[in-house]
């Protein structure tokens, strides 16, 4: 399916969502990806080293970077790419380039698409990240599944979130990222 057909398909999907439903679809329809005010705006060039990509991902605390060349989205590089194509051959990370391991022509989401559309794209494509592009295909950032989780939690009634679910003694919460 080409990019135009994907856009039409998403618009039809949004029209068919049950607007009478009481909770998430209405909210999800009203909010665009752009309105989530995501903080992940990092990109990387295809000639950067794998080590450089890892450093950038860890610094930004994100598992994926859009690869941009001549102001155009040409690929993405993810933790999983690196895990499967590079690790455990870690000796050569500073000489191998992003271009060697990136996924070409990734599916992206328009910044004015709804959150519901983004959830659908992630579900159907088994993606954990989607590059966000404007109407001219310029990359604006990255949407991750964690952003979706944050969005749902932020829209859930606070009184429910504050209730302890079960009176079971638990391990102390670890202060860490990205388990």
């Amino acid at each position: 399916m080409d990019r135009h057909a994907v856009q039409e398909d998403l618009e039809q999907f949004e029209e068919e969502l049950d607007r009478e439903d009481t909770y998430l679809p209405q909210v999800a329809l009203e909010i665009s990806v752009e309105e989530l005010h995501l903080r992940n705006h990092e990109t990387i060039g295809p000639d950067a080293s794998i080590q450089g990509a890892i450093d950038a991902m860890l610094a930004a605390n994100i598992g994926c970077l859009p690869v941009v060349e001549n102001d155009r989205l040409v690929g993405i590089i993810t933790e999983r790419n690196i895990l499967h194509k590079v690790a455990p051959d870690f000796e050569r990370m500073d000489t191998r380039t992003v271009r060697e391991v990136m996924v070409l022509e990734p599916v992206s989401v328009r910044h004015d698409a709804s959150v519901a559309s983004a959830i659908r794209l992630m579900h159907e494509g088994r993606f954990r990240h989607l590059p966000i592009v404007d109407a001219h295909d310029h990359v604006e950032g990255t949407l991750s599944v964690r952003n979706i989780v944050e969005y749902v939690v932020d829209h859930f009634p606070a009184e429910v979130l504050n209730l302890p679910p079960t009176p079971v003694e638990r391990n102390p919460i670890q202060s860490r990222e990205g388990a």
Partner: protein, 144 residues
């Protein structure tokens, strides 16, 4: 989708099966397990099957990118995250979402009453459930 959809027990969802390794497993072999299983984490368990730690894709980048190739020979017990957050099957989906949100976790093990892992809940499972409740068809159905 209704609020009650998110108050269902997390154990109702089709979650992942835990893959467990021993604490003396070398990091290099744990990475291979992640690669071959196409999974995002392994659990480190003791002789009784109790969870000691978790080792994730992010840990591969974070630990080995700084330790270099020599890191591959370390026992996983030295690089895992010890005593990870766990859930129980009767915890709610929204509680799991909340824990993932505040802790920044992408994977949380579910344990039974004795502390042994029974499932793995990931953000992917959460998004799949949200998509299902939004009426999104499975990719297979969409293509048929």
């Amino acid at each position: 989708m209704h609020a009650e959809d998110l108050e269902r027990p997390i154990g109702d969802l089709p979650l992942g099966e835990p893959v467990c390794v021993r604490p003396d497993t070398r990091v290099r072999d744990a990475v291979r397990t992640l690669q071959q299983g196409r999974i995002g984490c392994v659990l480190v368990t003791d002789d009784d099957g109790l969870i000691l730690g978790i080792f994730t894709e992010r840990d591969v980048l974070r630990r080995l990118a700084t330790l270099g190739a020599a890191g591959g020979d370390l026992p996983i017990s030295e690089v895992m995250t010890a005593r990870p957050k766990v859930l129980h099957a009767d915890d709610s989906i929204v509680y799991a979402l909340h824990e993932m949100h505040i802790g920044g976790y992408r994977h949380i093990p579910l344990t039974d009453g004795s502390g042994r892992p029974v499932k793995i809940a990931s953000v992917r499972h959460m998004v799949d459930y949200l998509a299902e409740r939004l009426g999104v068809r499975d990719a297979g159905e969409a293509n048929s």
